[in-house]
Amino acid sequence: MLIKLVEHIDLNEAYAYLNSTDAGAVNLFVGTVRNQTKGKAVVQLDFEAYDAMAIKQMEHLANQAIRKWPLVNLAIIHAVGAKEPGTPVVVIGVASAHRDASFEACRFLIDELKKTVPIWKKEFYEDNSVWVNAHP
């Protein structure tokens, strides 16, 4: 499996890594920067990670997915640093013999990543900035 933090996400890399003659399905989820949150224009996002722990927690999720579904391979790639609207910031890719397993595992991985992997997003608007989810 391929698990890493990068400055710039290359979608082709994830697909090239996952595509194989064993897999009848390759499911790719791409999370990108939206240009607004609750009606406020987002001009930039900053992603910060606790690298060592982020990798370890992503590995835990990958191992859970492998135990739960019959997968051929998977990739979890998250971007760090400053990102503009429209930029990909996370890619989850899952290859399996049949499509059900790859759809379900892909959904599981992105949902759990958002709950447990120590990566933080700061949104910059035209007049201020906030750490997303920090306050109720």
Partner: protein, 86 residues
Amino acid sequence: MFYIQITVKVLLFGITREITGQSRLNVPAEAGITTVKGLKSWLGMQYPAMQTLTSLAVAVDSEYAQDDDLLNADHEIALIPPVSGG
């Protein structure tokens, strides 16, 4: 039970880094911190803004820790404010 007093070094990220103005914090031995729970209460007193966060977890050696877990000077300890990746 007897605990040796230790200086706890804590890594800070995201909003906790901004609240403290530091990416590494040394909690002095005199604070008498021995557990995750103790560390959280000490931080809340030193930095009241920490108490306004949605949640605050502590990681020990890159794993989420429980309140009763003991802290050791050899551990890598970090504060994990609400995550927002993806």
